[in-house]
Amino acid sequence: MQFETMSEFITMDGHGLYVWLSYGIGLSIIIGNLVLPLFKRKELIKSLARRLRRENNTQ
């Protein structure tokens, strides 16, 4: 551990804002890239299922 206390870890010797802002941006881009395709999959399967039901009804 490079830091003695929690507040030292957060302030990072005055570079805290830069470090935490970077990690915030980085992690949200990573999480977004995993979560968005999963949501899209759900929506896609829902709409394809609707379409399938419609086709079966008209036949």
């Binding site: 570079h15 881009i29 399967i45």
Partner: protein
């Protein structure tokens, strides 16, 4: 395709959307676990345990996001261009889908590289942005990704869009060596490559190891995201085929 027997069997199997869908489904869980573990270990190591830089202090911890994202943004571009060319030459639909799936991921990773670079530049260089060769060529990479995405969005005909997009990504490939050598060809504020596997690293091993973990973690994360998007695209384009109908009906 018939007659070219010098290509291995998996190459032909890759051409089958259904086979691709199945194999990515099998690979996804292990890549997902690897990505999560590596990224958690890497981030904790980078933030709390790596020693501070003697010149830059703690702001250098941004490197653990900046370098992997910059590497990945370029690898992703090369994959997109290669997949596009394979799609152009062999008319393999799955290759087009891979190229299509690469573009948004690559664009967001390029944004990450640029944003973390800008944030790191402020305390280190005293400026968020300079029109320097490395930064500008990286910005062009982002624009190329956006151009590819725009081409896909603008054309309704999927094979036409794939053709146009792969030509653009192929032309844009010239930017990759420019990014790589920009720090050598032009005077620049940006430091030369910090992460190499072939030479002795320019930093102590306790700084380099977490970086290695992050780079591998980023590649795993990229594979997961790519497979997720690819599977969506396979289902969408193959929606009229029997196996997708069965899949949808079984959900």
């Amino acid at each position: 395709m018939a007659g070219s027997s010098w290509l291995p069997r998996w190459f032909y199997q890759l051409a089958s959307p259904r086979w691709c869908y199945d194999i990515t489904g099998k690979l996804l869980p292990s890549f997902f676990i690897a990505a999560i573990l590596l990224l958690i270990v890497g981030v904790v190591w980078a933030l709390a345990f790596a020693p501070p830089d003697y010149q830059q202090g703690n702001s250098f911890r941004i490197m653990y996001l900046h370098v992997p994202s910059a590497i990945l943004a370029q690898s992703c571009y090369m994959l997109m261009a290669i997949a596009g060319v394979v799609g152009l030459i062999w008319k393999i639909k799955v290759a087009d889908m891979v190229a299509y799936a690469c573009a948004p991921i690559g664009a967001s990773i390029a944004v990450m590289a640029l944003a973390t670079g800008a944030i790191w530049g402020k305390p280190t260089w005293g400026s968020w942005w300079v029109w320097d060769a490395r930064l500008t060529s990286m910005l062009i990479l982002l624009f190329l990704y956006m151009g590819v995405m725009a081409l896909y969005a603008a054309m309704d005909n999927e094979s036409m869009a794939a053709k146009a997009a792969s030509v653009l990504s192929l032309v844009g490939l010239v930017n990759i060596p420019i990014i790589k050598y920009s720090v050598e060809w032009w005077n620049t504020l940006h430091q030369p490559a910090t992460f190499t596997l072939t030479e002795k690293p320019a930093m102590p091993i306790e700084m380099w190891l977490p970086l290695l973990v992050m780079v591998v973690g980023f590649y795993c994360f990229f594979s997961v995201s790519l497979m997720l998007r690819l599977r969506n695209e396979i289902i969408r384009r193959e929606r009229r085929s029997g196996w997708v109908r069965e899949l949808v009906a079984s959900k």
